[in-house]
Protein backbone atom coordinates (compact mmCIF):
# COMPACT_ATOMS: atom_id res chain seq x y z
CA UNK A 1 0.00 0.00 0.00
CA UNK A 2 2.77 2.47 0.90
CA UNK A 3 4.35 2.67 -2.53
CA UNK A 4 1.25 3.73 -4.42
CA UNK A 5 2.43 7.15 -5.48
CA UNK A 6 -0.36 8.35 -7.68
CA UNK A 7 -1.25 11.95 -8.43
CA UNK A 8 -4.77 12.78 -7.21
CA UNK A 9 -7.00 13.84 -10.10
CA UNK A 10 -10.00 16.16 -10.13
CA UNK A 11 -12.30 13.42 -11.33
CA UNK A 12 -14.95 12.15 -9.02
CA UNK A 13 -16.51 8.72 -8.79
CA UNK A 14 -19.81 8.55 -7.00
CA UNK A 15 -21.20 6.07 -4.56
CA UNK A 16 -24.86 5.40 -5.28
CA UNK A 17 -27.52 5.20 -2.57
CA UNK A 18 -27.65 1.41 -2.74
CA UNK A 19 -23.89 0.93 -2.61
CA UNK A 20 -21.49 0.76 0.28
CA UNK A 21 -17.96 -0.34 0.98
CA UNK A 22 -17.62 -2.72 3.91
CA UNK A 23 -14.36 -3.25 5.78
CA UNK A 24 -13.85 -5.56 8.70
CA UNK A 25 -10.86 -4.87 10.92
CA UNK A 26 -9.22 -6.88 13.70
CA UNK A 27 -8.70 -5.33 17.13
CA UNK A 28 -5.18 -4.52 15.91
CA UNK A 29 -6.64 -2.49 13.04
CA UNK A 30 -5.62 -5.00 10.37
CA UNK A 31 -8.05 -5.41 7.50
CA UNK A 32 -9.59 -8.90 7.66
CA UNK A 33 -12.35 -8.62 5.14
CA UNK A 34 -13.53 -6.26 2.43
CA UNK A 35 -16.57 -6.67 0.19
CA UNK A 36 -16.32 -7.33 -3.56
CA UNK A 37 -17.85 -3.97 -4.34
CA UNK A 38 -14.73 -2.35 -2.89
CA UNK A 39 -12.70 -3.90 -5.73
CA UNK A 40 -15.23 -2.89 -8.38
CA UNK A 41 -15.43 0.64 -7.08
CA UNK A 42 -11.86 1.56 -6.14
CA UNK A 43 -9.85 -0.60 -8.53
CA UNK A 44 -7.77 -2.07 -5.70
CA UNK A 45 -7.41 -5.84 -5.57
CA UNK A 46 -8.47 -7.56 -2.38
CA UNK A 47 -4.91 -8.85 -1.88
CA UNK A 48 -3.65 -5.22 -2.11
CA UNK A 49 -5.40 -4.35 1.11
CA UNK A 50 -6.06 -7.46 3.25
CA UNK A 51 -3.77 -7.55 6.25
CA UNK A 52 -3.06 -3.82 5.88
CA UNK A 53 -4.64 -0.60 7.03
CA UNK A 54 -6.44 1.84 4.76
CA UNK A 55 -4.16 4.86 5.30
CA UNK A 56 -2.76 4.64 1.78
CA UNK A 57 -6.13 5.65 0.34
CA UNK A 58 -6.39 8.91 2.30
CA UNK A 59 -7.08 12.03 0.30
CA UNK A 60 -4.79 15.02 0.77
CA UNK A 61 -7.81 17.39 1.01
CA UNK A 62 -8.85 15.82 4.31
CA UNK A 63 -7.31 17.57 7.33
CA UNK A 64 -5.22 15.40 9.66
CA UNK A 65 -7.50 16.53 12.47
CA UNK A 66 -10.53 14.89 10.83
CA UNK A 67 -8.69 11.60 10.24
CA UNK A 68 -7.50 11.62 13.84
CA UNK A 69 -11.11 12.10 15.00
CA UNK A 70 -11.95 8.89 13.21
CA UNK A 71 -9.15 6.98 14.95
CA UNK A 72 -10.15 8.46 18.27
CA UNK A 73 -13.72 7.22 17.80
CA UNK A 74 -12.46 3.73 17.01
CA UNK A 75 -10.20 3.81 20.09
CA UNK A 76 -13.24 4.68 22.17
CA UNK A 77 -15.44 2.17 20.33
CA UNK A 78 -17.83 4.95 19.36
CA UNK A 79 -19.63 5.38 16.12
CA UNK A 80 -18.92 8.47 14.08
CA UNK A 81 -20.92 9.54 11.03
CA UNK A 82 -18.93 12.07 9.09
CA UNK A 83 -18.39 12.67 5.40
CA UNK A 84 -14.90 12.08 4.03
CA UNK A 85 -13.07 11.98 0.75
CA UNK A 86 -10.86 9.12 -0.35
CA UNK A 87 -8.95 8.06 -3.42
CA UNK A 88 -9.34 5.18 -5.81
CA UNK A 89 -6.36 3.28 -7.21
CA UNK A 90 -6.24 5.42 -10.35
CA UNK A 91 -6.19 8.66 -8.34
CA UNK A 92 -9.81 9.69 -8.65
CA UNK A 93 -11.76 10.66 -5.52
CA UNK A 94 -15.07 9.77 -3.92
CA UNK A 95 -17.06 11.13 -0.99
CA UNK A 96 -18.59 8.80 1.57
CA UNK A 97 -20.33 8.77 4.90
CA UNK A 98 -18.59 6.81 7.68
CA UNK A 99 -20.44 4.35 9.88
CA UNK A 100 -18.90 1.98 12.44
CA UNK A 101 -20.08 -1.11 14.22
CA UNK A 102 -18.07 -2.72 17.01
CA UNK A 103 -17.94 -6.25 18.28
CA UNK A 104 -16.92 -6.36 21.92
CA UNK A 105 -16.58 -9.15 24.50
CA UNK A 106 -18.15 -9.29 27.98
CA UNK A 107 -15.25 -7.26 29.39
CA UNK A 108 -15.88 -4.50 26.87
CA UNK A 109 -12.72 -5.39 24.96
CA UNK A 110 -12.73 -4.82 21.23
CA UNK A 111 -12.79 -8.01 19.15
CA UNK A 112 -13.28 -6.52 15.73
CA UNK A 113 -15.09 -3.73 14.02
CA UNK A 114 -16.81 -3.02 10.74
CA UNK A 115 -16.31 0.21 8.89
CA UNK A 116 -19.02 1.05 6.38
CA UNK A 117 -18.60 3.73 3.77
CA UNK A 118 -22.01 4.81 2.63
CA UNK A 119 -23.65 7.11 0.14
CA UNK A 120 -23.16 10.69 1.37
CA UNK A 121 -25.65 13.52 1.12
CA UNK A 122 -24.75 15.74 -1.83
CA UNK A 123 -26.21 18.79 -0.13
CA UNK A 124 -23.71 18.52 2.73
CA UNK A 125 -20.56 18.35 0.61
CA UNK A 126 -20.05 22.00 -0.51
CA UNK A 127 -20.22 23.25 3.10
CA UNK A 128 -17.95 20.49 4.39
CA UNK A 129 -15.47 21.11 1.58
CA UNK A 130 -15.15 24.75 2.71
CA UNK A 131 -14.75 23.73 6.35
CA UNK A 132 -12.11 21.10 5.52
CA UNK A 133 -10.21 23.65 3.42
CA UNK A 134 -10.20 26.09 6.34
CA UNK A 135 -8.99 23.40 8.75
CA UNK A 136 -6.30 22.23 6.32
CA UNK A 137 -5.05 25.81 5.85
CA UNK A 138 -4.94 26.31 9.63
CA UNK A 139 -3.04 23.01 10.03
CA UNK A 140 -0.51 24.06 7.40
CA UNK A 141 -0.03 27.67 8.55
CA UNK A 142 -0.41 27.19 12.29
CA UNK A 143 -0.76 23.68 13.69
CA UNK A 144 -3.15 20.77 14.12
CA UNK A 145 -3.80 22.00 17.70
CA UNK A 146 -4.95 25.39 16.45
CA UNK A 147 -7.19 23.65 13.88
CA UNK A 148 -8.62 21.48 16.66
CA UNK A 149 -9.44 24.54 18.77
CA UNK A 150 -11.10 26.15 15.77
CA UNK A 151 -13.27 23.09 15.10
CA UNK A 152 -14.11 22.85 18.80
CA UNK A 153 -15.25 26.49 18.89
CA UNK A 154 -17.13 26.02 15.62
CA UNK A 155 -19.10 23.03 16.95
CA UNK A 156 -19.52 24.55 20.43
CA UNK A 157 -21.15 27.60 18.84
CA UNK A 158 -23.64 25.28 17.13
CA UNK A 159 -23.92 23.02 20.17
CA UNK A 160 -23.49 19.94 18.00
CA UNK A 161 -21.08 17.04 17.71
CA UNK A 162 -19.42 16.62 14.33
CA UNK A 163 -21.72 13.69 13.53
CA UNK A 164 -24.72 15.84 14.41
CA UNK A 165 -23.44 18.69 12.29
CA UNK A 166 -22.97 16.28 9.36
CA UNK A 167 -26.53 15.01 9.88
CA UNK A 168 -27.75 18.60 10.07
CA UNK A 169 -26.09 19.43 6.74
CA UNK A 170 -27.44 16.19 5.30
CA UNK A 171 -30.96 17.17 6.37
CA UNK A 172 -30.97 14.47 9.05
CA UNK A 173 -34.22 12.58 8.72
CA UNK A 174 -34.01 11.84 5.00
CA UNK A 175 -30.61 10.55 5.65
CA UNK A 176 -31.57 8.27 8.50
CA UNK A 177 -34.04 6.50 6.25
CA UNK A 178 -31.39 6.33 3.55
CA UNK A 179 -28.97 4.55 5.87
CA UNK A 180 -31.65 2.07 6.84
CA UNK A 181 -32.63 1.46 3.23
CA UNK A 182 -29.03 0.58 2.47
CA UNK A 183 -28.93 -1.83 5.36
CA UNK A 184 -32.00 -3.74 4.23
CA UNK A 185 -31.16 -3.78 0.55
CA UNK A 186 -27.70 -5.22 1.10
CA UNK A 187 -28.74 -8.04 3.41
CA UNK A 188 -26.18 -7.15 6.00
CA UNK A 189 -25.39 -9.58 8.83
CA UNK A 190 -28.27 -10.10 11.23
CA UNK A 191 -28.49 -7.62 14.05
CA UNK A 192 -27.22 -4.78 11.94
CA UNK A 193 -30.42 -3.44 10.43
CA UNK A 194 -32.31 -0.98 12.58
CA UNK A 195 -29.65 -0.97 15.25
CA UNK A 196 -27.98 2.23 14.20
CA UNK A 197 -29.07 5.54 15.52
CA UNK A 198 -28.00 8.37 13.27
CA UNK A 199 -28.46 10.96 15.96
CA UNK A 200 -26.60 9.12 18.68
CA UNK A 201 -23.82 11.21 20.16
Amino acid sequence: MEDLNFIPSDREVRLEPNQSLIFKFSNEYKLEYVNDFFTDFTGYEIHDVIGEGVEGMKHSDIPKLISSMLYESVENKKNINIILKNTTKDGRFYWFLTDFQYEIDEENKLLSFKYYRRFPSKSAIPTLEKLYKKLLDIENHASIEVAEKYLYGFLEEKNMSFSEYTAFLSKGEDFKSMVQKVETSQNLPAGKAGKKSWFRK
Binding site: K134, D137, I138, N140, H141, A142, S143, V146, A147, K149, Y150, Y152, G153, F154, E156, E157
Partner: protein
Protein backbone atom coordinates in the same frame (compact mmCIF):
# COMPACT_ATOMS: atom_id res chain seq x y z
CA UNK B 1 3.80 30.47 13.15
CA UNK B 2 4.59 33.93 11.80
CA UNK B 3 3.46 37.04 13.52
CA UNK B 4 1.07 38.93 11.23
CA UNK B 5 2.23 42.21 9.74
CA UNK B 6 0.59 45.19 11.33
CA UNK B 7 -1.60 46.94 8.70
CA UNK B 8 -1.19 50.66 8.05
CA UNK B 9 -4.40 52.32 9.23
CA UNK B 10 -6.39 54.32 6.70
CA UNK B 11 -9.13 56.77 7.60
CA UNK B 12 -12.01 54.75 6.18
CA UNK B 13 -14.75 53.07 8.12
CA UNK B 14 -16.32 49.66 7.56
CA UNK B 15 -20.02 49.94 8.25
CA UNK B 16 -21.38 47.01 10.23
CA UNK B 17 -24.74 45.33 9.80
CA UNK B 18 -26.44 46.19 13.12
CA UNK B 19 -28.28 42.86 13.15
CA UNK B 20 -25.17 40.70 13.01
CA UNK B 21 -22.84 39.56 15.77
CA UNK B 22 -19.07 39.51 15.44
CA UNK B 23 -18.06 36.58 17.60
CA UNK B 24 -14.73 35.18 18.64
CA UNK B 25 -13.51 32.75 21.24
CA UNK B 26 -10.17 33.25 22.93
CA UNK B 27 -8.20 31.49 25.62
CA UNK B 28 -7.32 33.27 28.88
CA UNK B 29 -4.29 34.88 27.22
CA UNK B 30 -6.33 36.39 24.41
CA UNK B 31 -5.21 33.90 21.75
CA UNK B 32 -7.94 33.48 19.13
CA UNK B 33 -9.31 29.94 18.97
CA UNK B 34 -12.42 30.47 16.86
CA UNK B 35 -14.17 33.29 15.05
CA UNK B 36 -17.51 33.26 13.27
CA UNK B 37 -18.08 34.05 9.59
CA UNK B 38 -19.11 37.67 10.20
CA UNK B 39 -15.90 38.27 12.17
CA UNK B 40 -13.85 36.96 9.25
CA UNK B 41 -15.87 38.92 6.71
CA UNK B 42 -15.33 42.23 8.52
CA UNK B 43 -11.68 41.88 9.55
CA UNK B 44 -10.65 40.62 6.13
CA UNK B 45 -8.26 37.94 7.36
CA UNK B 46 -8.45 34.24 6.55
CA UNK B 47 -8.96 31.70 9.30
CA UNK B 48 -5.46 30.29 8.85
CA UNK B 49 -3.98 33.77 9.39
CA UNK B 50 -5.91 34.63 12.51
CA UNK B 51 -6.36 31.40 14.48
CA UNK B 52 -3.69 31.00 17.14
CA UNK B 53 -2.83 34.72 16.98
CA UNK B 54 -3.24 37.18 19.85
CA UNK B 55 -6.41 39.22 19.63
CA UNK B 56 -4.48 42.47 19.48
CA UNK B 57 -3.66 41.91 15.79
CA UNK B 58 -6.93 43.74 15.14
CA UNK B 59 -6.25 46.41 17.76
CA UNK B 60 -6.38 49.93 16.33
CA UNK B 61 -3.50 52.29 17.28
CA UNK B 62 -6.11 54.95 18.16
CA UNK B 63 -7.20 52.83 21.12
CA UNK B 64 -5.73 53.77 24.51
CA UNK B 65 -4.06 50.87 26.34
CA UNK B 66 -5.89 51.73 29.53
CA UNK B 67 -9.19 50.49 28.07
CA UNK B 68 -7.70 47.04 27.39
CA UNK B 69 -6.10 47.04 30.82
CA UNK B 70 -9.53 47.61 32.36
CA UNK B 71 -11.10 45.06 30.01
CA UNK B 72 -8.64 42.30 30.95
CA UNK B 73 -8.92 43.11 34.66
CA UNK B 74 -12.65 42.51 34.37
CA UNK B 75 -12.29 39.39 32.23
CA UNK B 76 -9.79 37.77 34.60
CA UNK B 77 -12.39 38.20 37.33
CA UNK B 78 -14.99 36.60 35.06
CA UNK B 79 -16.88 39.86 34.72
CA UNK B 80 -18.53 41.17 31.59
CA UNK B 81 -17.61 44.56 30.18
CA UNK B 82 -19.26 46.71 27.55
CA UNK B 83 -16.54 48.68 25.86
CA UNK B 84 -16.55 50.78 22.73
CA UNK B 85 -13.62 49.57 20.67
CA UNK B 86 -12.14 50.75 17.41
CA UNK B 87 -10.75 47.77 15.50
CA UNK B 88 -8.33 47.56 12.61
CA UNK B 89 -9.13 45.41 9.58
CA UNK B 90 -6.48 43.75 7.41
CA UNK B 91 -6.81 46.42 4.72
CA UNK B 92 -6.23 49.22 7.26
CA UNK B 93 -9.86 50.33 7.53
CA UNK B 94 -11.50 50.63 10.95
CA UNK B 95 -14.79 49.54 12.50
CA UNK B 96 -16.34 50.45 15.83
CA UNK B 97 -17.90 47.78 18.02
CA UNK B 98 -19.59 47.46 21.35
CA UNK B 99 -18.39 44.43 23.30
CA UNK B 100 -20.11 41.79 25.38
CA UNK B 101 -18.30 38.86 27.04
CA UNK B 102 -19.22 35.44 28.30
CA UNK B 103 -16.74 33.56 30.47
CA UNK B 104 -16.41 29.77 30.22
CA UNK B 105 -15.23 27.73 33.19
CA UNK B 106 -14.03 24.15 33.56
CA UNK B 107 -15.32 21.70 36.20
CA UNK B 108 -12.88 22.99 38.82
CA UNK B 109 -14.17 26.53 38.35
CA UNK B 110 -11.16 27.86 36.46
CA UNK B 111 -11.63 30.21 33.53
CA UNK B 112 -10.80 28.41 30.28
CA UNK B 113 -12.07 30.72 27.57
CA UNK B 114 -14.01 33.82 26.68
CA UNK B 115 -16.72 34.27 24.11
CA UNK B 116 -16.64 37.83 22.87
CA UNK B 117 -19.70 39.03 21.01
CA UNK B 118 -19.63 42.44 19.40
CA UNK B 119 -22.16 44.49 17.59
CA UNK B 120 -22.18 47.77 15.74
CA UNK B 121 -21.54 50.71 18.07
CA UNK B 122 -24.12 53.54 18.00
CA UNK B 123 -22.81 56.59 16.14
CA UNK B 124 -23.57 59.19 18.82
CA UNK B 125 -21.68 57.08 21.36
CA UNK B 126 -18.64 56.87 19.10
CA UNK B 127 -18.60 60.65 18.82
CA UNK B 128 -18.43 61.03 22.62
CA UNK B 129 -15.97 58.23 23.31
CA UNK B 130 -13.56 59.25 20.54
CA UNK B 131 -12.83 62.52 22.37
CA UNK B 132 -12.07 60.68 25.60
CA UNK B 133 -9.88 58.09 23.85
CA UNK B 134 -7.88 60.85 22.15
CA UNK B 135 -7.19 62.44 25.52
CA UNK B 136 -6.24 59.12 27.13
CA UNK B 137 -3.99 58.20 24.20
CA UNK B 138 -2.21 61.56 24.35
CA UNK B 139 -1.58 61.12 28.09
CA UNK B 140 -0.25 57.60 27.44
CA UNK B 141 2.11 58.93 24.78
CA UNK B 142 3.37 61.88 26.83
CA UNK B 143 3.34 60.14 30.19
CA UNK B 144 2.33 56.50 30.74
CA UNK B 145 -0.64 54.13 30.89
CA UNK B 146 -0.67 54.52 34.69
CA UNK B 147 -1.07 58.29 34.44
CA UNK B 148 -3.84 57.85 31.84
CA UNK B 149 -5.54 55.38 34.15
CA UNK B 150 -5.40 57.88 37.06
CA UNK B 151 -6.87 60.54 34.82
CA UNK B 152 -9.69 58.23 33.70
CA UNK B 153 -10.62 57.23 37.25
CA UNK B 154 -10.40 60.89 38.31
CA UNK B 155 -12.83 61.77 35.56
CA UNK B 156 -15.28 59.03 36.62
CA UNK B 157 -14.94 60.12 40.25
CA UNK B 158 -15.72 63.70 39.39
CA UNK B 159 -18.84 62.60 37.53
CA UNK B 160 -19.75 60.30 40.40
CA UNK B 161 -19.87 57.32 38.08
CA UNK B 162 -18.55 53.81 37.78
CA UNK B 163 -17.24 52.60 34.42
CA UNK B 164 -20.51 50.74 33.85
CA UNK B 165 -22.81 53.68 34.56
CA UNK B 166 -20.51 55.89 32.48
CA UNK B 167 -20.74 53.62 29.43
CA UNK B 168 -24.54 53.34 29.75
CA UNK B 169 -24.60 57.13 29.81
CA UNK B 170 -22.45 57.36 26.71
CA UNK B 171 -24.66 54.84 24.95
CA UNK B 172 -27.74 56.56 26.31
CA UNK B 173 -29.46 53.25 27.06
CA UNK B 174 -30.57 51.26 30.10
CA UNK B 175 -28.78 48.12 31.31
CA UNK B 176 -31.73 45.93 30.27
CA UNK B 177 -31.98 47.26 26.75
CA UNK B 178 -28.22 46.75 26.41
CA UNK B 179 -28.65 43.10 27.43
CA UNK B 180 -31.40 42.73 24.85
CA UNK B 181 -29.15 44.21 22.19
CA UNK B 182 -26.87 41.18 22.59
CA UNK B 183 -29.28 38.45 23.55
CA UNK B 184 -32.21 38.87 21.23
CA UNK B 185 -30.70 37.01 18.33
CA UNK B 186 -33.90 35.16 17.43
CA UNK B 187 -35.51 38.39 16.24
CA UNK B 188 -32.34 39.30 14.41
CA UNK B 189 -32.20 35.96 12.64
CA UNK B 190 -35.84 36.22 11.65
CA UNK B 191 -35.29 39.72 10.32
CA UNK B 192 -32.21 38.82 8.37
CA UNK B 193 -34.00 35.84 6.88
CA UNK B 194 -36.84 38.10 5.85
CA UNK B 195 -34.41 40.50 4.30
CA UNK B 196 -32.81 37.66 2.40
CA UNK B 197 -36.20 36.51 1.25
CA UNK B 198 -37.22 39.97 0.05
CA UNK B 199 -33.89 40.46 -1.62
CA UNK B 200 -34.40 37.25 -3.52
CA UNK B 201 -37.92 38.30 -4.41
CA UNK B 202 -36.86 41.60 -5.91
CA UNK B 203 -33.53 40.67 -7.41
Amino acid sequence: MNRLDFPTPIDREIKLDPSLIIMSKTNTKGIIEYANDYFMEICGYEEYELMGQPHNVIRHPDMPKVIFKLLWERLHKGENIHALVKNLAKDGRYYWVLTNFETKYNESGEIISYYARRKAAPENAIFTIEKLYKTLLAIEKNQSTEVAEKYFYGLLEEKGQTYDSFILNVLNVSQSSLQNYFSDTSIIKENSNKKGFLKRLFS
